[in-house]
């Protein structure tokens, strides 16, 4: 099986899109002089693949990239050398041979932070608890395939667990969400909240991916 990197993407790097990030990695491997396998074909290029693309603007400390290390480089030296060749905000934490299939990556742990710089309304916490505690929460999701232009999705079955924690000017929602087939983007939870409770809409919301988990809730790497 392939090799993997575990990396974080924070700060200014949050705004690098998925495609741009792949290109950034391809160049960074070359800059760090770490030879990796190229694709075959007419326009060969270094092969890299990033599991479960992160939305632009989200930060993460658990991104996974697959590639094939060629001879002469040991896994241990990759993180430091590659990080030095990266733009600000991308830190390669680990490099290791893959041992599990990517489809075993079942859940993602997200931290969603609601900012209320003018002071958090008291009712926001029970409101969020009410929303996430519902039996079902069906929303309309844009879809190009569906004839109507949208499909209906129930978010509740895609939420494995949640916890709300509040301070005077923020509300933090710790979520474990289905990662794939189908996955749930926490943005949809924000949107559902703002739709149900427009008066409690925050000034700004940040999203952070904290951990990749397997079906049992253990760390996936």
């Amino acid at each position: 099986m392939a090799d993997r990197l575990l990396f974080s993407k924070t700060g200014r790097a949050k705004y690098i899109s998925h495609l741009d990030l792949m290109r950034t990695f391809q160049r960074a491997f070359a800059r760090a002089k770490i030879p990796i396998k190229h694709t075959e074909g007419f326009h060969p290029h270094p092969f890299v693949s990033i599991a479960l693309p992160l939305s632009v603007g989200y930060s993460s400390e658990c991104e996974i990239l697959e590639f094939d290390l060629l001879e002469r480089t040991s896994h241990g030296e990759v993180p430091e050398r590659l990080t030095a060749a990266m733009p600000e905000g991308i830190v390669v934490r680990e490099c290791y041979p893959a041992q599990r299939k990517l489809k075993e990556l079942a859940y993602l742990n997200y931290i969603m932070n609601f900012d209320y710089p003018e002071g958090r309304p008291q009712e926001s916490e029970p409101a969020m608890e009410e929303l996430l505690g519902r039996e079902s929460l069906v929303i309309q999701k844009k879809s190009n395939k569906a004839q109507k232009g949208y499909t209906e999705v129930d978010l509740i079955p895609l939420i494995r667990s949640w916890r709300v924690e509040c301070q005077s000017d923020t509300m933090t929602v710790d979520l474990v969400l289905s990662a794939q087939n189908p996955g749930l983007n926490p943005e949809l939870i924000r949107a559902a909240f703002c739709q149900s409770y427009p008066d409690l809409a925050p000034d700004f919301v940040t999203f952070h991916r904290r951990a990749a988990l397997d079906a049992e809730g253990g760390l996936f790497r």
């Binding site: 200014r12 705004y15 491997f29 070359a30 800059r31 326009h43 632009v56 603007g57 600000e88 700004f204």
Partner: protein, 614 residues
């Protein structure tokens, strides 16, 4: 990152262009920095980051202890709207600090249609547009680049212009600025001293005096300013010892020229009579091929780029091109790095070279014959023979290429209908060349003919010429379209005439046009090189509101003795030489290239010993 910025970014397209933090971006410790410089490019990040000149200046300045140069680009409309709404001032990408707090703001001016972006960026920075309304020493606003060769339309907004190559003069004026600040000079005192540095034009020291007919009577030197009669451009004399950006910023998002740019030489030996770059970048200075190979490899290693381009005004005129290409290919081919050669001449030598480069990757094939007949090509001194072009495309088609683009200009001096029809004939000959040589006739061929509307430029042999009228341009377009309509394999595109008309106005414009720029900007003009934003009627209204006639600038032929708005600017190519070249044009006589014979343009005076090494 600034909190306001962080809230704005999720709402705009392509936010990565507004964050900085790229690989090799220079971040310095504010406490150790004395001079902060905002290097501004009045267009989007993708365009500005593709500019080699800015990369050079960025490197040159940041090598200097105590100086921190940051980048700044024009935000796209959605970002601008957010910035204005949230009160976020234009900031340097590296630090996020507002550029209004910087010491020097320097603009790179590459084309006239970016002028309104200069105004818009000053406004987004929270600064008054006009130099006179910025009485303090800092921030001082400078501008350089090709358009600075006629800086007059921007004169009231910019404190000083820099002529020619910036590697040395930039550090000289930064040094002077440091002294000015230490010794507490006023802005006026600083500008007076700056005007003594060769290559620096302070527009407020020159006053345009007009004749009743609207032409210039003189550009009067302001008494007591100490400003020079003429300001000479600057060049880097020893190109081997000038800075090359081996280690340069690698954007995290895609830009227009996303590859290693290897600059082979400066200047051009050809002397095409319409070409401003060909005149103002003289004399030719070549870089040593071994040095270039070394730079090229090092730049690939540091950047991780998979593509390299050999750039110069006419790359195939580089004397050691074959050796250089072989050397580079030995390195690039095994690493799957593509090497491309833009600005190819359509001759056999170039085609052999193309085949060599194809070892790695096959790009598109583009030629610029500029004119359809040999007579007109001779008149504009585009020394390209029809047979050379046809031989080149034969080689290319035989080698399996199935597409070629041909660029021409309409409205060149002395052009007749016969010359216009000549474009169609030439395109057809290219088509027959394909039929004769292609190994694969079933695949078909794509021949694209593109024409633009000729814009006469300052400091060229055609600086006295009238641009043909729009009706006449349209008539010639229609004529050519008619000629080509039966040829299914030939596609004809023509350039939008509206921007070419404005370019013709501003490229040879005087200081009165500053009011037009300001009026247009106040009424929403910005990003005028983008069709999403360009509004021709707004410009017509702006001219009318300022009581100026665009045709006076664009469509009027100048007399030999007319005083030009750029008469104080000296690119070291003499007006006498340019006039001679114009006369040669009317006689359909060519002038040999600089390597074959010196034509005495005057640029050799910039070199020690007075001999060009072209």
């Amino acid at each position: 990152m600034n909190r306001t910025l962080e809230q704005i970014l999720p709402r705009v397209q392509k936010p990565a262009r507004y964050t900085g933090g790229e690989y090799n971006a220079v971040v310095k410790d504010r406490r150790e920095v004395e001079v902060r410089y905002a290097l501004c490019f009045p267009d989007t990040y993708e365009i500005g980051m593709s500019n080699l000149g800015c990369r050079i200046l960025y490197g040159v300045m940041n090598q200097e202890p105590g100086v921190w140069c940051e980048r700044c680009y024009a935000p796209w409309g959605d970002m601008e709207e957010e910035m204005r709404r949230e009160g976020l001032l234009l900031y340097g990408l590296e630090s996020g600090d507002p550029i209004s707090d910087f010491d020097i703001i320097g603009f790179s001016l590459g084309y006239e249609m970016a002028y309104t972006n200069v105004l818009n960026m000053l406004d987004l920075a929270g600064l008054p547009l006009r130099s006179a309304d910025r009485p303090e020493l800092s921030p001082i606003v400078a501008a350089g680049g090709t358009c600075a060769y006629n800086p007059e339309p921007l004169a009231p907004f910019v404190d000083f212009f820099v002529l020619g190559e910036g590697e040395e003069v930039t550090l000289e004026y930064i040094r002077l600025y440091r002294q000015a600040r230490e010794e507490g000079w006023s802005k006026e005192e600083f500008l007076q001293e700056a005007a003594q540095i060769e290559g620096i034009y302070v527009p407020s020291f020159y006053e345009p005096i007009y004749n009743p007919d609207g032409t210039l009577a003189e550009m009067r030197v302001k008494e007591g300013s100490g400003a020079h009669e003429t300001v000479r451009k600057r060049i880097v004399e020893d190109f081997d010892h000038s800075y090359f950006p081996v280690k340069t910023i690698i954007p995290s998002t895609e830009i227009v020229h996303d590859r290693v740019m290897l600059e082979l030489f400066r200047g051009c030996i050809r002397g095409c009579r319409f070409c401003q770059a060909g005149y103002v970048y003289r004399p030719v200075r070549n870089r040593n091929p071994e040095l270039l190979a070394q730079y090229g490899k090092a730049a690939c290693e540091d950047s991780g780029y998979q593509e390299m381009t050999l750039s110069s005004l006419s790359s195939t005129d580089y004397p050691c091109l074959l050796e250089l290409c072989d050397d580079l290919l030995d390195y690039c081919a095994p690493r799957d790095i593509g090497v491309s050669l833009p600005s190819l001449r359509a001759d056999t030598f170039s085609m052999n070279l193309m085949e060599r480069l194809q070892r790695v990757r096959k790009g598109g094939l583009t030629f610029a014959p500029e004119a359809g007949t040999q007579r007109l090509r001779d008149a504009i001194n585009k020394n390209l023979k029809e047979e050379d072009l046809l031989q080149s495309v034969r080689t290319a088609f035989a080698g399996g290429w199935s597409g070629v683009k041909l660029y021409f200009m309409l409205g060149l001096p002395t052009e007749t209908d016969e010359d216009v029809q000549g474009i169609a004939d030439l395109a057809r000959k290219v088509y027959f060349a394909w039929r004769e040589t292609t190994p694969n006739p079933a695949r078909g061929v794509r021949i694209t003919v593109s024409t633009s509307w000729f814009v006469p430029k300052p400091h060229t042999a055609f600086q006295w010429e009238a641009q043909i009228t729009r009706e006449e341009y349209q008539r010639r377009v229609d004529l050519l379209r008619d000629e080509l309509k039966r040829d299914k394999s030939i596609t004809y595109n023509w350039h939008d005439p509206e921007t070419s008309y404005l370019e013709a106005i501003f490229s040879r414009g005087d200081r009165r046009l500053a009011d037009v720029l300001e009026w247009a900007w106040e009424h929403g003009a910005k990003m005028d090189s983008w069709s999403e934003y360009f509004d021709f009627q707004r410009w017509m209204d702006a001219l009318a509101a300022c009581g100026l006639d665009g045709d006076f600038y664009a469509h009027r032929e100048r007399k030999r003795n007319e005083v030009f708005p750029w008469c104080r600017i000296d690119p070291m190519v003499t007006p006498a030489f340019l006039w001679r070249e114009r006369e040669q044009c009317y006689a359909s006589q060519t002038t040999p290239d600089c390597r074959s014979r010196c034509s005495g343009c005057g640029a050799n005076r910039l070199l020690k010993g007075g001999v060009c090494n072209g």
